[in-house]
């Protein structure tokens, strides 16, 4: 899948550059129309690349899980991530980041189309060519990671967790090295998660009811604030799940491992909870990026349309995730 993604990233870079050149050189209406056709091809390739990224994201963790028996001492994906940690972090972080960036580009491109104006400036296509370059780098890094994974070294046991599907729990021997030492840190995390997620959801609900535009400065501030809030909630949620919620949801007291939470089947709906959070954060981020477009005359109607939908989607998924966690905790305490 990574090799196919790499090939498609090359095709995307080529078509985006060809479209940018067409827009730049286009003088008369005929050239503009021809450039529009090349933009359609670039957009279509971008959609296929996004589909490959989305299909490849869960398969990445299936592949990492298949390395577990190869690495002496590893009992779950966390052990695998300790081999070549930097490259592994890059490979894992690249997928969601590129899904967000490519999704944002496609959203802004659909706004431009619905605004009815022909593409006069090539910067949209140049931005896509840049994204294609990043995509090629990400898939290249993944291929390098897979092929260089053969030179394995022993890793210390990550934590006491059942290998693969069977939950053969051994006595607590090790903690994760980066477990937050004090309970005060965990209290901060709880506050950030159980306070931040509902706040962001309510904010999105309020924004989805907006009708009249605000001033340009206020919109730009909103854009930055919402982006920061989305990123902050996503980070806090990741830490909260691995540090606090994973042991509770899996009922393994010392088991601070997000990978086991998603894969070892002890919390069947964990993937759905984390998936909802991811979709909510992405939707909030994309809604933030639309704020400037709400001011532009030509694209305002379409921007409002998408903005309202994204805010509703973000609020719904965040609240759904929060509700599912609450139910788990209630059942756990009962």
């Amino acid at each position: 899948m990574a090799s196919l993604g790499l090939a498609l990233a090359g095709v995307l870079a080529t078509t985006a550059s060809w479209a940018a050149w067409g827009i730049h050189r286009g003088r008369g209406e005929l050239d503009v129309s021809r450039a529009e056709r090349s933009i359609h091809l670039a957009t279509l390739v971008a959609v296929v690349c996004l589909a490959i990224l989305l299909i490849g994201w869960p398969l990445l963790y299936a592949m990492l899980d298949s390395f577990v028996p190869e690495i002496p001492g590893a009992m779950c994906i966390y052990g695998v991530t300790k081999v070549m940690p930097v490259m592994n972090a890059v490979v894992q972080a690249a997928k969601p980041a590129l899904i967000f960036v490519l999704g944002a580009w496609l959203l802004l491109e659909s706004l431009r189309r619905q605004s009815g104006l022909p593409a006069r400036r090539a910067r949209g296509m140049l931005a896509l060519a840049l994204v294609a370059g990043l995509l090629a780098l990400a898939h290249g890094a993944e291929l390098y990671y897979v092929f260089s994974m053969d030179s394995l070294q022993e890793v210390s046991c990550c934590c006491c967790c059942g290998a693969g599907g069977n939950a053969n729990v051994q006595p607590a021997a090790f903690y994760l090295p980066w477990v937050l030492p004090s309970s005060a840190c965990q209290a901060v995390l709880n506050t950030l998660f159980f306070g931040g997620v509902p706040l962001l959801a309510v904010w999105l609900l309020v924004r989805s009811r907006w009708r009249t535009p605000r001033s340009k400065g206020f919109a730009r501030a909103q854009c930055v604030l919402l982006l920061v809030a989305a990123a902050g909630v996503a980070t806090a949620a990741l830490l909260e799940f691995s540090q606090v919620l994973a042991p509770l949801l899996m009922r393994l007291p010392f088991h601070h491992c997000l990978y086991c939470l998603l894969l070892n089947g002890r919390a069947a709906d964990a993937a759905l909870i984390v998936g909802n959070l991811a979709v909510g954060s992405f939707a909030a981020g994309w809604a933030a990026l639309l704020c400037p477009a709400l001011q532009t005359t030509s694209s305002a109607p379409a921007a409002w349309h998408w903005h309202r939908r994204l805010c509703l989607l973000g609020a719904t998924t965040l609240l759904a995730s929060l509700l599912m966690v609450a139910i788990h905790l209630a059942v756990h305490r009962g």
Partner: protein, 268 residues
Amino acid sequence: MAARGPTAGRGHPLRTPNDMTPAVRTHQVTRYYPAARSDPVKAVDCVDLELALGEMAVVCGPSASGKTTLLSLIAGLDRPGSGRVELFGRPLAEMSDAALTLLRRTHVGLLFRDFKLLPGLSAWENVALPLVPMGTPLRQRKRAAAGWLDRLGVAEVADRPPEQLSGGQQQHVALARALVNDPQLVLADEPTSQVDAASAETILATFEAMVAHGKTVIITTHDPTLVRSCPRRYHMIAGRLEHRPWSSTSIVFSRCSWPRWGSPWQVY
């Protein structure tokens, strides 16, 4: 214009045409087609045309004189090499292909010489084709298509594919498709060339009813009945358009194929 709230449907705010805005205006519109071993072919050469709402115009001229190309440029199907085309006051040059298509979908009805119906689809599905990308539900599409087929007197063929219809019936289905979106402008390319007299009569009556309702109709034809029924007549030869009042004799001459003199001025 301050940004207004989101419109009802997907799309962009269009200024609804008022009485003063001309429905169609072309200014020095030119369209050349590159030829392999000779000079580019002048399909449309510096054409100026202006039609207000509620008018009907007829364009005659020998074959390959550029009539169809002119209609394509007006409908936004094709882009002019130079010059400007404006529909309902909006310059098409400033619109992207997507916006052009949207404008065509909502404001323009097209009737082709050879009907251009999709084989394999039934008559009502052909009529409802423009409604599909607008998100109109199936039942509503079927009702609208049946209504127009009934109005044009071909309701009985609704469920039959085009291959099983006569030329007249196909032209009525094509006309119903052109009118299903209630367009402000109808462009008909030789609508009566492949139909019998009765069908031609029905088509002409339909056009006249539309003009009466304030729509604009542009017809390219060789049919003298259509020419006689229309006060505004144009003659097109070698890509050039002239507004010429016609006597009956002149119509006859236009039908034979004149040697190409390369000169735009024809004496009749």
